[in-house]
Symmetry: C2
Subunit: 98 residues, 2 copies
Amino acid sequence: MTMFPKLDPILHSELRLAVMSILIGVDEADFTYLKKQTGATSGNLSVQIDKLMAAGYITVEKGFKGKVPHTTCKITTAGQEAFNKYVESLKEYLSASK
Amino acid sequence: MTMFPKLDPILHSELRLAVMSILIGVDEADFTYLKKQTGATSGNLSVQIDKLMAAGYITVEKGFKGKVPHTTCKITTAGQEAFNKYVESLKEYLSASK
DNA sequence: TAGTATAGTTTATATTATAAACTTGTTTAT
DNA sequence: ATAAACAAGTTTATAATATAAACTATACTA
């Protein structure tokens, strides 16, 4: 792509972008919250969270809340940077005639 | 997705978005021009142009320029509307804390 | 006329997204 | 106490997508 910057494939996904969008505005969020906010299925969310983690864009802590398993996600600095860069890149696509 | 609008899958594709981004700013563009501007391979471009056409977002005219085959693409009204809507939807994802 | 270039299309493959099925454990009703 | 339903995920299978490789057809060029 000559005039269009490459879009980070990790972020160029509807659900992963939604997750990142939530996480960037909040200190942390748990699995259930992310599921409710995004409307995703558990399976899909689980997979996409894994990918974001593998990319180093979020950290995932698995523990228990009382007796129930509980997963907390938090955006990393790398994740914030990648998100910002993605937004900047997208702008090149969205602003026609430039 | 409850708080995030669904992103038009036809447009949520790097190459198709690039093509639409070019076409929205220009009266028409031919295959070769789109290929150069996007840096895409011919095969990929051919396939994605087909999909945009199938979606009714662009028109494709195949003819000859002298003796050489020549394909001209033009955005449709539906395509412009879809593009604008996509941009609006994306904003919901990009503006954190909203 | 053999070789290279142009303008694509078709087909095959690799990657992704998504849903369905499953696991593990908990709470609730009987 | 135990079966039924629920919660929080994970794993696996399938469907959809993107992309590249191979191919077609014609034209130009040495």
